[in-house]
Symmetry: none
Subunit: 229 residues, 2 copies
DNA sequence: GGCAATTGTGGCAATCCGGTGGCAGGGCCC
DNA sequence: GGGCCCTGCCACCGGATTGCCACAATTGCC
């Protein structure tokens, strides 16, 4: 199965150029010209790697914002900035936002491919160690990590991203207690303890809307929460 | 616990320079001037990240060889080439050898740090999922550190957090007497001695509710308590 | 057996923790 | 701009947990 790479670049010529080159290297390519379009598409289905430009049309820093959004979608998604901007400031900012690499547009194609390959190599290491699955099934619960959907007894539970990650964190190891800090880090958050409580409240409510009997999220007093098997 | 970074660079001045800068950023640094020396040291103890120059003294491609050797030692070790050579050919070769990043020596320090941080971030993703189950088994007693559950003869004993840690502290070393202070510190408490007595009382009661014959928590008069094997 | 020190017991009050409703700020879309 | 959604947080409440005390029971020692 070919790797899917998403390219976000506003210049149509450059975009087509890169898309072509990557396709020739055996990658599947999805190309987008604008931030909102790209984000919407990736929310439906995550690519295996994203290459994004920083300046997107009138949105001068659109790529930065997109990177942040994508990082929220997935902590593991490899992200490469590919842009004309070569100031140190931009590089550091980009990397701090969670990108894995930062390249300027003067890199040769072989160079770009080598960077992509290196990133895939590393991403794969993570996949082997962890649960590289993009689908989690726990009885009546099923989680689709690429589409960010959760089903309970077959019915779709409309969770927000934060809620999605929290459910994922809990259900990944049924029965294991996750304290609030662990839940935060798995959802890429740094918030107040009470906020976690709020999220759990909302998650429970959403599951209950689908199944009034729902009670799989158990509170472990003073310890955290656990997904009851 | 600070991250350990290994630097392999033949020029003593540059080496000291980078080593200093990284130390200032809170990393632990091990610096080496030659390939053999570096490899020998890392065989004994792998760093958390390696930064290597390509040209090492008379050994023009020594860095490449070292990278290959290190990759053989560990597929997961993050490796960065930091060198004066900026030809595309070298970059591609370096990355193909298994390096994660390739930087030229004109990068600023903030840029280098950002690259290092990005790599650590990604490497951490891999490490997370690996840790296996933590379980303590002592005859009829079984403690699950991940689930925060205690079973006696297979039956669940509903302990509170404080009680859980106290049972854990006692059962970890069966037969060893733990005085009240030790029990407090293992449960992260600072309380009156009599309070420990109360906790033991409640723990015994909860075990007795499961098994009327329960008598494994022994009082060592004047010394503390011990888990009877 | 007598005595002081130590531990067990029941119970109560203070505290901690989580659940709930609600609200405000920020972002996004129309 | 207006409306909507998501998110973070707070105040309040009820219940679980915890700390401690007075008093009874036990222990070690003479």
């Amino acid at each position: 199965m070919a790797r899917r790479i998403a390219i976000v670049e506003d210049d149509p010529a450059i975009r087509a150029n890169y898309a072509d080159a990557l396709k020739k290297h055996g990658f599947e390519v999805a190309a987008y010209g604008a931030r909102a379009e790209a984000l919407a598409a990736m929310k439906i289905r995550l690519p295996d790697l994203a290459i994004i430009d920083i300046g997107l049309g009138s949105d001068v820093d659109g790529g930065f914002a997109l990177c942040r959004d994508l990082r929220a979608l997935s902590a593991a998604l490899p992200i490469i900035f590919l842009t004309a901007r070569d100031s140190d400031f931009d590089v550091v900012s980009g990397l701090r936002l969670g990108a894995d690499d930062y390249l300027t547009k003067d890199v040769s194609l072989p160079h770009l491919i080598a960077r992509i390959a290196a990133l895939f190599r590393r991403a794969e290491l993570a996949g082997e160690a962890g649960s590289g699955e993009d689908q989690v099934e726990r009885g009546a619960l099923s989680i689709d990590l690429k589409r960010f959907t959760v089903r309970w007894q077959g019915a779709l539970v409309p969770l927000t991203l934060t809620e999605f990650w929290m459910v994922h964190a809990l259900a990944k190891f049924p029965g294991h207690v996750k304290d609030r800090e662990q839940l935060m880090s798995e959802a890429n958050l740094v918030v107040d303890d009470s906020t976690i409580t709020s999220h759990v409240k909302r998650i429970r409510r959403k599951f209950a809307a689908v199944d009034a009997e729902f009670d799989r999220i158990e509170t472990a007093y003073g310890m955290g929460y656990r997904w009851k098997a």
